[in-house]
Symmetry: C2
Subunit: 192 residues, 2 copies
């Protein structure tokens, strides 16, 4: 997605340890036009891989929500965001799996209520980054626990140096990303 | 917004202490069509009150993001979501204010980076609930600290029994909500 690659080239910075600062368009400020395009491109890439009948988009709060909602808008299906902390409104019956947050440096338990994910669902997972793949694998575990069928995974930015794509190969579903980045002498290189 | 009122009537439940369970369309699962309509109705209501030149939509993570993004999509302006926990990517230069989370029963510090909010901005605040108004007042304090101009406030569901609208009167800006609810013998009554 060229507009995203351009944005990464002009605005993203590497703050060390492979962590990218993309506050201007993913983690803090959201640009509607860019985000709407992300949804359309994800939907198109899934369609091109024969995935046309998903029933649900699944993401993890917080930074996955915008691009996941844009995808759900194009596909016309609900979005569920896994909660990182259990609000009092959440059902006791939930599927859960652990991940790790590199930007907050802590273990996080993701939870999805069984009210909104069932064995009848056909699920697409969307997240902001594909790095170590821990969050996507936790979401995939939640899908597995629910008995739903995982159809595909989409991540906005793929850190190719982090090896996440290899870790997702066991899922045996298409993995699509909108921009890839590598680090060359500590500098970000963004490409298709 | 009739479709939202219908949804509240058919799905929302009162779990006690004035807290609503609206996981099916606001706090956990998001319905794109309903959410897109929320954005269009917010934009129309602001326009009807003479607010047509906002530069930024401001909300608080997590549950405000979807309806705020839908509003930003219609208005064609960026969305900034205040962070509740400071990620390592966040600038040290940020505006902050305290609020209270009733669903997590704790004080929360909201932070917005000065990179994405300045004295030149004309801001609309969007949030999911108007109850005690603490979160909206914290966001309004962040707008004040930045020197930006607050143009209006929009909340998806107004709990009229919680008195938040009166607490916002000092802001002297239009406050629009998409559905009002009251409790009658502990049962939810939803209306315009």
């Amino acid at each position: 997605m060229q507009s995203l690659i351009d944005k990464i080239r002009s605005e993203a910075s590497h703050i060390g340890d492979g962590i990218l600062k993309v506050d201007g368009f993913i983690n803090h400020q959201i640009l509607p036009e860019l985000t709407t395009e992300m949804g359309a491109v994800f939907a198109g890439k899934f369609r091109a891989r024969g995935i046309g009948n998903a029933s649900l988009v699944l993401t993890a709060e917080v930074s996955g929500i915008a691009s996941a909602l844009a995808t759900a808008q194009v596909l016309g299906i609900p979005l569920v965001f896994a909660r990182k902390r259990k609000p009092v409104t959440m059902s006791e019956n939930c599927y859960q799996a652990e991940t790790f947050s590199p930007t907050k440096n802590e273990l996080v338990t993701l939870r999805v209520s069984s009210e909104f994910l069932s064995g009848r669902d056909r699920v697409i997972i969307i997240d902001d980054f594909l790095a170590s793949a821990k969050t996507v694998l936790a979401l995939a575990e939640i899908v597995r626990l629910s008995g739903a069928c995982l159809l595909g995974v989409g991540c906005v930015i793929e850190k190719v140096f982090a090896g996440g794509r290899e870790k997702l190969s066991a899922l045996q579903v298409p993995v699509v990303t909108l921009a890839k980045i590598d680090l060359v002498d500590g500098n970000i290189r963004a490409f298709r």
